[in-house]
Amino acid sequence: MHIPDGILPVAVSAAGYVSTGAATWFSLHKINQKENPQAGIPKASLLTAAFFVASWIHIPIPPTSVHLVLNGLLGAVLGYYAFPAILIGLFFQAVMFQHGGLTTLGVNATVMGVPALLAYFIFRLRNVVGKDSLAWTGVFGFLAGAGGLGIAALLAAVILVTTVPSHLDVEAERAGIYAMTLAHVPLVILEGVFTALVVVFIQRVRPELLENG
């Protein structure tokens, strides 16, 4: 999900920046509506750094290992701070580790951040059925985690396959989208299970950390 520089047409990069601008504006608008918007900044920033670090944890899948994206979990925990957090995380990835790129920052942030916001809305539904229940927290954690990565994978596949190789025929494009999305299905389930386990852990240890959700 780190589309590098040079691959996408400039119109797509620009559209990515426009959608990122809109999502950032929406998030900041919601944050500023809070009673004391500055109070949330240290919490959101340290959690942004913590998510960045947590994504270094590798899950063994022999013969290799995968790292998790955690955008669904990020949405569930950070709420409206999730989009700025992802934007900042991707900016760090681009300038420190050259994962992703500067011109594609908008596209990448949209691909990862909009599903994170959706995951937040999904996770918030647990308030309707009983937010103190560990079982429901787990269920909505799974849905948020799986949904966050699933939607992101689908968005990335559509953007990559439809905008990049202009000489691929329609059939090959469609097959490409299906293949890339299907390849993500086991990861989506893994991400969902992991997210569920983490939110259940937090619900046990520090339930107020999930207050945003």
Binding site: S45, L47, V53, L70
Partner: protein, 258 residues
């Protein structure tokens, strides 16, 4: 705190001395102009401008090589997809694989643009301390919540990374080995991730209280002290001219269909 990026931020070069706001605007304009280029004939000029900037920045060459390694896999995937599956004119046939002309012609600009943008990005973020660059972005209009969050997270990433390392060592000493994706492994790793989040959350609470005591959010923020000299503005003008030159050349080449 050394995050790799700041490693060469204090070398003396014209690019290190360039006023950070002008540098940000100029080099970002150049980066977007590069991403607009598609015509093969503009690629050598683009690479030449990039090389000149990199040499002028006095950043070491090995620094560039280590930075190119990370995104290599993605490019390899793109190269295979384009070279063997895009287009119909076969250049070379090796068994079931056919190297295609259209794919090659699409791949060349992608590679050139990727390398150029990465190098200009390195010059932009490698020739000034990261904190100064973020302050320059704030002075240019980056919303203060975003700037504060960026500076804050940057400050704590490696500290929290050290926490993770300590916890992983402790887990290893107690006999935990992540070998198979069993339910137990996943549960332990989820607790590890959860602990990282909970610890950071608790730490943020203490930090926020300490910041309040020091007046965070009350005193009007001191304006960032940047001052552009005439030569900074001239350099900005020059780089913007080059950026516009690439866009115009690309449009002319496309327009005439030559």
């Amino acid at each position: 705190m050394n995050l790799g990026l700041d490693e060469h931020a204090h070398l003396g070069s014209p690019l290190h001395g360039w006023e950070p706001r002008c540098k940000f605007v100029g080099l970002m304009a150049l980066i977007f102009a590069f991403s607009f280029v598609r015509d093969l004939r503009l690629l050598p000029a683009m690479l030449a401008v990039t090389a000149a900037l990199y040499v002028a920045s006095r950043l070491p060459f090995p620094f560039l090589l280590t930075r190119l390694r990370a995104p290599g896999f993605f490019l390899l995937f793109m190269a295979i997809l384009l070279l063997f599956f895009s287009g119909s004119t076969v250049l070379v046939q090796v068994g079931p694989l056919a190297l295609r002309r259209e794919g090659l012609l699409e791949l060349l600009p992608i590679l050139a643009k990727f390398v150029s943008i990465l190098m200009v990005g390195l010059v932009l973020f490698g020739t000034a301390p990261f904190l100064i660059t973020i302050k320059a972005m704030r002075a240019l209009g980056l919303p203060s919540i975003l700037a504060d969050m960026t500076l804050f997270s940057y400050r704590y990433i490696y500290e929290i990374g050290d926490d993770l390392e300590t916890m992983e060592t402790a887990m290893g000493l107690r006999g935990f080995r992540a070998r198979r994706p069993s339910g137990r492994t996943l549960g332990v790793l989820a607790s590890l991730a959860g602990t990282i989040l909970v610890r950071s959350y608790e730490r943020s609470d203490r930090i926020y209280k300490a910041m309040i005591l020091r007046g965070y959010g009350r005193a009007p923020r001191r304006p960032d002290e940047f001052q552009a000299r005439p030569r900074d503005a001239i350099a900005l003008g020059g780089v913007l001219l080059v950026a516009v030159g690439f866009v115009v050349a690309e449009l002319i080449l496309r327009g005439f269909g030559v």
